[in-house]
């Protein structure tokens, strides 16, 4: 075998080579299509469950497609009226409507991602240009990201529920608790995603040639002006990508949301989990509908920034 490609036989008999070329791609495609099917199956199952009526959720043998497609599940989660007719609605204590959680999720994710984006971008700029914080600083930032969230959750519970009310009472005379508030969650998400923002933006800012800024400065532009008119336009697309990436991460976050919010605020993943423990047993249909509603926007956003995903997940260490 190893001689087949030796120097003298670089031009192997054409027929033999062609035959090998012929079936290899087929095998390759077969394997890849097989994996694609495996990957799409759970998503397909959720989609088709979301169109099934309550009698069809768990049948044996299961139906691969809804016999009688219905939008009831979507109706149930999107209607404002909680007390209407539906599957055992009055028996559960959780309201079915998705709107409250949708609003909470949108506010928390947008707010935290935006603030993290601005703080992170400016820090990335000053790290890149002035080496603020020293050489090691950019690596130390990673620490925050790598700590398991449960280790952060316990201290934060005590902090939000005990220390801050205690301190605000002593200072302002009123107990202010960040526990179970949108602001509290936003601050938390902002902190845990900052490392991603800093690293992604570092990789974008590092690509902007310093000579451009230098030229602007020599021509008399102020520092803020240079930043606004020269640097920001060049990294704007990077900022959009970073924002979307961080938004997706926050959107999907579960542990911290589960532990630090209880009755008032709830993000969408927490809402999906609440259906799990409903007293009437699990409500597969509405769960599937919520799952679909949560997933589709982020998958679309994710595909939109697909090229940059590797940059995000590898902290800008891999570029393509």
């Amino acid at each position: 075998m190893s001689n087949a490609h030796s120097k003298t036989q670089a031009a192997t008999p054409a027929g033999q080579k062609d035959r090998r070329r012929d079936h290899m791609p087929l095998v390759r495609h077969a394997i890849l299509i097989g994996w694609a099917l495996i990957i799409m199956f759970p998503i397909f199952w959720m989609l088709q469950t979301s169109f099934k009526d309550s009698g069809e959720w768990v049948t044996w043998p299961p139906n691969w497609l809804p016999q009688d497609p219905t939008l009831k599940n979507y109706q149930q989660i999107f209607t404002f009226d909680v007390s209407g007719s539906g599957v055992a609605r009055e028996a559960t204590d959780q309201p079915f409507s998705i709107w409250g959680s949708l609003r909470d999720s949108l506010i928390i994710c947008t707010l935290s991602s935006l603030i993290a984006l601005f703080m992170g971008t400016f820090l990335a700029y000053s790290i890149s240009r002035f080496n603020v914080g020293g050489k090691k600083f950019r690596h130390m930032v990673l620490l925050v990201r790598m700590i398991p969230p449960i280790v952060i959750a316990i201290p934060l519970l005590m902090y939000y529920a005990v220390l801050i009310p205690f301190a605000t009472e002593a200072v302002f005379g009123a107990r202010i608790s960040l526990f179970d508030t949108r602001i509290g969650m936003s601050i938390l998400y902002l902190t845990v995603t900052l490392p991603f923002v800093i690293w992604m933006m570092l990789s974008f800012v590092d690509e902007v040639p310093y000579t451009l800024e230098h030229a602007a400065r020599i021509m008399g532009a102020g520092r803020m002006y240079t930043l606004r008119k020269v640097v920001l336009p060049l990294v704007a697309s990077g900022m959009v990508v970073t924002f979307l990436f961080v938004f997706i991460l926050n959107w999907a976050e579960f542990l911290l949301a589960l532990t630090l919010t209880h009755p008032d605020v709830s993000t969408l993943p927490v809402l999906l989990n609440k259906f799990q423990s409903a007293s009437e047993g699990r409500l597969y249909g509405p769960q599937a509908a919520i799952g679909t509603v949560i997933t589709i926007p982020v998958v679309i956003l994710g595909i939109a920034i697909q090229k940059h995903l590797v940059k995000g997940f590898s902290f800008g260490m891999l570029r393509r």
Partner: protein, 328 residues
């Protein structure tokens, strides 16, 4: 170099007004440099460091949620003792490493294999990449839910297996999640399903940055496919492999979402990861000071891993950048 030019251009504030004065103050070298740094560091100190200091204090208290915080009494190292002698803590810690290890190995192997195949595919490449990346974008909770549907006793998995189970004369409606081993496997499989796309992505990026000249040169010199793979491609892919291992391992040790959605830690305690175990101790049983001590101990343990991880990442990153420079 940058410092000199920027210092030389420290401009005077010409215009009046509070806003422009603020702008001028902002444009000062030192202010401009340090504001973002102070903001971010301030956030880290306020949201991470202070809570941890508080937690260290609480870990020395004897406090459960049924008593007010102010009445809690100091108890020395009692909580630490309790955590370290707690069988559940060690068991769930070991289980976490077992889950993470198994899942990450499969993710690496499958991801590498898929990336290799997709790298060689010419037609339909983009479609494959897009499809393969989707699981990563699915919200983990939703992924957990999807798998809970598949493992149902009347779910599609049992239906697909029913020809075999009928042949063996077993009731086809197997309750996968009621069996400890099967439940553990279920969680590992859900993790593999979701995160193979990340290792695939990292390896694909590694493959596409391989220098083609080098491989062509080897081919001209008479190396066969296997030789090219083992002696040229694999060594050049080492940074990508290390990055994938470190990033995936750190993430896999956080495993929590599929456990809640699939099994609630059960049957028994067979699928409790450390995150789930602590969540239960603190949020279900209200053992606050116990949880505080455990999270301090975990932080110490994990920080060792994290430092090793970061050190590996930095080393590989430098190598990778050199490689890309030589490649272009």
């Amino acid at each position: 170099m940058a410092d000199v030019t920027l210092k030389a251009a420290a401009e005077p504030a010409v215009t009046k007004g509070a806003l422009s004065r603020f702008g001028a103050w902002l444009s000062q070298e030192r202010v401009f440099r340090w504001i973002p740094f102070v903001l971010v560091e301030g956030t880290f100190i306020l949201v991470i460091i202070i809570p941890f200091l508080l937690t260290i204090y609480i870990s020395f208290l004897r406090w459960r949620a049924n008593r007010p915080f102010e009445q809690a009494q100091l108890s020395g190292f009692r909580n630490y003792e309790q955590v370290l002698t707690d069988a559940g803590f060690w068991a769930s810690l070991g289980r976490t490493f077992y889950f993470a290890g198994t899942a990450v190995i499969f993710e690496l192997v499958i991801g590498f294999f898929l990336a290799m195949l997709v790298h060689r595919v010419v037609r339909g490449r983009r479609i494959y990449i897009t499809l393969f990346l989707i699981p990563m974008m699915v919200v983990p909770v939703v992924a957990g839910y999807n798998f809970s549907m598949i493992y149902l006793d009347s779910g599609p998995l049992n239906q697909l297996l029913s020809p075999f189970t009928n042949m063996l004369g077993i009731n086809p409606r197997i309750r996968w999640l009621s069996d400890p081993t099967a439940a553990q496997l279920a969680i590992i499989i859900a993790d593999i399903w979701q995160w193979t796309s990340l290792t695939f992505l990292i390896f694909l990026s590694g493959f596409s940055s391989l220098p083609p000249q080098l491989i062509n040169a080897a081919r001209v010199l008479g190396a066969n496919k296997r030789q090219i793979f083992f002696w040229i491609e694999l060594p050049l892919l080492k940074p990508a492999i290390v990055i994938a291992v470190v990033i995936r391992s750190m993430e896999a040790l956080k495993l929590f979402d599929p456990v809640v959605l699939l099994t609630f830690g059960g049957p028994g305690t067979s699928t409790q990861t450390i995150a789930y175990y602590l969540w239960e101790q603190v949020w279900q049983f209200n053992k606050y000071s116990f949880g505080a001590a455990a999270s301090i101990l975990l932080l110490i343990l994990f920080s060792v891993l994290i430092f090793v991880g970061i050190w590996l990442l930095i080393r590989q990153r430098n190598q990778f950048e050199q490689q890309q420079e030589t490649a272009t």
